[in-house]
Symmetry: C2
Subunit: 195 residues, 2 copies
DNA sequence: TTGAAGTGATGACTTAAATCAAGAAAATAT
DNA sequence: ATATTTTCTTGATTTAAGTCATCACTTCAA
């Protein structure tokens, strides 16, 4: 179990550029709870308030919505060292429109909004990390907005260059849904790309 | 000129839920510079590092890219009480891929990255505001990602419900570009929506 | 006050991607 | 090992939205 936290502490220190004191580590260890989810198990279901935020130690998950026609749309694919939550629901305590489901056996360290507020106040490295993640989120959001004007090929090429490991790790129909394409279209794009 | 700052101070206090001291206000007044841009004037040109962040006191602007075919794509439309910058370029000091242009006569209060760092350290209300804006950005980014799967009609309906004043304020071809649609398509959608 | 530029509407046509359908291949379970 | 989902491919067809072309209407500037 300790090793889970070591990876977590390393992550905080690396992102923030600051060291955690022993007291900091004790506080985090006391409040972050280790949790395992089996493949296909839900971390969050549509309509529920997302009470937890999870740090992924091992495994992967998808965040998706289901439209009126019953079609699923993946908004996010999450892997190790990423945070797992619906930020809107988590921050505002409103019912979520999203589902979050484990795609592989998932090991996370989870905590609540109130606890996070405490870490932000008491742990400088945690607060610095939070600010940097927000910055990165803002930048990523800016980039994603550009994708509106991209063709199917361009979206795929962008994924290949930004997240090449996703292609190995996730089935093609998940990738297609993440890119907002039908799986048939993605299959054809890959065929053409080989030439 | 003072009135510009009064609106700015009100904004910080409202968003942060905290009061600014006289010292805080003096520090902000000393470092934020009032600037006017005429209609069509550029706040940022593609290839330049975005050295400034501007708080819009009056007027509006668009953030856009130009693709290989010479077509412009609007990523953001900004109005009063919004921040004007390319966050990626501003935070990371990298050359920007965006252009930011005044759509109407524009009055802003602007400052540099280094100065912002100072405000974050010295002014609690400013730091609280920054965190809340980051939260809102993260939430907005999550929402925007959903738009990938939306049809032309759905994107338009979303705009109507979220930013109805944009429809009055900006020409239809700008709105179309912002939604990632051709102006002909938007014209047809509006015609159908009337029925 | 009259061009000129910018904006918006509409019709005809084209194209990118979705949908529908059927098999093949791979992964998982019994 | 074999059945049974699940995933992936390929072809035929449909559909949503883009492109091209033209005309009307408005602003704005000389």
């Amino acid at each position: 179990m300790m090793s889970n936290f070591e990876a977590f502490f390393d992550y905080i220190q690396k992102i923030s550029g600051q060291l955690l004191s022993e007291d900091d580590k004790d506080l985090l260890t006391a409040h972050f709870k280790a949790r395992k989810l089996r493949k296909r198990q839900y971390f969050l279901q549509e309509g529920d308030v997302c009470k937890y935020i999870g740090f992924i130690v091992k495994g992967s998950a998808r965040t998706f919505t289901v439209d009126e026609k019953g079609h699923e749309h993946i908004l996010k694919l999450s892997v190790e060292n990423w945070w797992l939550t619906d930020f809107e629901s988590f921050y505002l305590l409103t019912p979520s429109r999203f589902n979050i489901e484990a795609l592989e056996e998932l090991e996370i360290l989870q905590s609540t909004n109130a606890e996070i507020e405490e870490f932000l106040k008491k742990i400088p490295a945690f607060s610095a990390m939070s600010n940097i993640i927000s910055q990165n989120n803002t930048i990523a959001a800016q980039k994603r907005m550009q994708a509106i004007n991209y063709s199917a090929e361009e979206r795929y090429e962008e994924l290949v260059s930004n997240y090449p490991h996703f292609l190995q790790r996730f089935p093609q129909n998940m990738i297609a849904s993440y890119l907002g394409l039908s799986s048939e279209t993605l299959s054809r794009i890959k065929k053409n790309a080989l030439k």
